[in-house]
């Protein structure tokens, strides 16, 4: 067990746990718009931590360059596609769930 191995463990395991929490959120949250947030968790910190853990394993090689590119592309495309899905749902007239009692009169969009 070298120090690099330990560092990559420290990144990989929380990354996987965050991914699972995001998947759980995708199942548990009540409506489509809040499920987008659940997917967001896995896309940002979960994926970043897993790839960061792999970068520690890769060392200063071509592999790490590719992992960095993968991370950059992932971080650029995932909010774009989330936004696209959300906007399509909004224009198609899908109503957001706003059923929480402390939310009355605060919905400025209507």
């Amino acid at each position: 067990m070298t120090i690099v191995d330990i560092l990559s463990w420290i990144c990989l395991i929380p990354g996987c746990i965050l991914c699972m929490i995001g998947g759980l959120g995708l199942l548990r949250l009540p409506d489509f718009y809040s499920r987008m947030h659940g997917g967001g968790i896995t896309d940002t910190l979960g994926a970043s931590l897993v790839l960061l853990g792999l970068m520690f394993q890769g060392g200063l090689t071509m592999v790490t360059v590719k992992l960095v590119m993968l991370l950059v592309i992932l971080l650029l495309t995932s909010p774009t596609s989330t936004h696209a899905v959300g906007k399509a749902a909004l224009t198609s007239g899908l109503k957001p769930f706003l059923g929480n009692p402390d939310n009355k009169g605060k919905n400025e969009h209507d």
Binding site: Y33, H37, V65, G86, L90, P96, D102, E108
Partner: protein, 159 residues
């Protein structure tokens, strides 16, 4: 000029990813150059070769902005993860409007993407002035409405 810049970037990326630095495999190298030229032609046909693809000056200001964004993402991630794991599911989804003070399209897109990247807030729609944001909790909505992120994007990228 922009076409030359784009060709250099495309070919550099190709070289980096393919790993053919020598002239050993001439055919592969020729195919690489041809595909780069084709990509530049396609981009020209789509008319997306403009100032925005050429903004190298943004790199330094992005270097200042990105660490703050990463910190914000980590905080928001932990908050949303806690709420999902909480058995009572303490969420209060709402839709708010946020005014972006950015002038250029690129900076507006960076701002909207930053909102979406931060868990707990998703930008749903963009119009001339406002960004429609769906927030998972009251705290996330207040946070994005306080304009802290907006100020940071504007001051970091439009100076």
């Amino acid at each position: 000029m922009r076409y030359i810049f784009m060709s250099i970037v495309a070919f550099g990326t190709w070289l980096l990813w393919s790993g053919h630095y020598t002239l050993e495999h001439t055919l592969v190298l020729a195919i690489g150059i041809l595909s780069c030229a084709f990509v530049v032609y396609l981009a020209g046909r789509l008319s997306i070769v403009d100032e925005e693809g050429y903004s190298i000056h943004l790199i330094w200001s992005l270097a200042l902005y990105i660490p703050w964004l990463i910190w914000a993402i980590i905080k928001a991630n932990i908050d949303v993860a806690k709420r999902i794991l909480n058995p009572r599911l303490p969420i209060a989804p709402r839709i708010v409007r946020v005014t972006g003070t950015q002038k250029t399209d690129l900076c507006r897109v960076i701002f909207a993407n930053s909102i979406t990247l931060t868990p707990g807030t998703v930008s749903l729609d963009l119009d001339e002035e406002d960004i429609v944001v769906h927030a998972l909790t009251k705290e996330a909505a207040d946070d994005v409405q306080s304009g802290d992120m907006d100020r940071r994007v504007t001051t970091a990228l439009e100076q």
